[in-house]
Symmetry: C2
Subunit: 234 residues, 2 copies
Amino acid sequence: MADDTDTDELGIPVLAKPLSASGRKRASITEAAIAEFVQRGYTGASVDSIATRAGVSKPTIYSHFGNKQRLFLAVIGGYLRDSYTDLGPRADGIADAPDLRTALVDFLGAWVEVVLREDIMTLRRLVIGEVERFPQLGEVWARINIVHDDALVRAFTALDQRGTLQVPDPRAAVRQLIAMTIGAAQLIRTFRPAYRFDDGELDALVTSGVDVFLSAYAGFVVPAAVVSRRRRAG
Amino acid sequence: MADDTDTDELGIPVLAKPLSASGRKRASITEAAIAEFVQRGYTGASVDSIATRAGVSKPTIYSHFGNKQRLFLAVIGGYLRDSYTDLGPRADGIADAPDLRTALVDFLGAWVEVVLREDIMTLRRLVIGEVERFPQLGEVWARINIVHDDALVRAFTALDQRGTLQVPDPRAAVRQLIAMTIGAAQLIRTFRPAYRFDDGELDALVTSGVDVFLSAYAGFVVPAAVVSRRRRAG
DNA sequence: GTCTATATAAAGATAGAC
DNA sequence: GTCTATCTTTATATAGAC
């Protein structure tokens, strides 16, 4: 058993830093398990195969992690946490950027490139597919999203106080902005892993999302979004 | 083998209408297989268990569907197609509704209630989790979404021609509206199956999404979204 | 077409030696 | 702590009788 390992508040075992020979084996098991689980899913993955990949015997895995479920939670939960903790660009400069529209487009454009990475998308599909069996992983994901959103929430709160934006509910506004840009792109690739965005397609998607957002919350219509509209209306 | 069954353009076997005794068995296998796959996933489901649920023997299943993969594709693909073909409210009245905002809120509110149903969400998670193994299912899903979006696309195109809305790219606009409302709600429940929306929470989410949409594409700010904003700006 | 019975392989997990 | 060897169960798939 491995009941002596600590777990965080979501039940994800927190692994100690590997140092000893035993620690190195544990690390190699972790690495092998991530690869196997990501590739074949929870049920499809076999402990045998993980042992072979890691270059250890099966009982070694069981002595470290107890059983397959604990192994999955520990390695995938930890992988999630570590991957996303410092993932994506920082939003710190946005509140003070000279051109808000450009700053948002750049920020969201960089972010969407990260979340559309194959490895990230595959991990995402794995977690979604297993979330009814392992609800803790969904909670980890939700928490990570909140943390990531916070940067934009702070920026919009500041901009609201300065009067640059009028955002009564910053968190809701952030959710809307992200849904229109990142969420829309992610949704396509969630169901169509092979889909490739054309040159400029992602850009247009992000830009028009930002424009809709600004036209609602900045109280003005941004040029590019509404050329045809100005013409028509005028 | 079951190589004599027809398949549609996505490779999903099209099942003939069940009539004979053999047809009834086939139908009961289909029903049992859907339940088993939805409950345990593709790899976790066992043909043994499906046979028991259906009250038939294992060879009967293999004689009808060939192997487990074909069985999965046939029943889940068919279930997807049938479930979603006439799912959700009709958007036909929207272009001619006296109050566009109310019509959109009602329409999207009804729609989001359907897509958040447990059985629909579970099916969605299953498809996402298996989409790398069965890309056809993702294509089916994408096609269904396009069909569903079309109703709104037509409505916005008509409203654009009449000048009620200014929507240069109706399909992109529909995607944005749906992302902010349905997509945002769906995303939460995708990772948190146990999450329950408060009374009014879904309503607020949908309404504020519609308001952002209208403020961008109708060229005016709708009352409820911006009370605090009018005050500030005035 | 459908069954019983079975072939064959692989899974999760552990006993016991070192 | 880690290994070899093994237990037990369950999986997909099929042969052959009716």
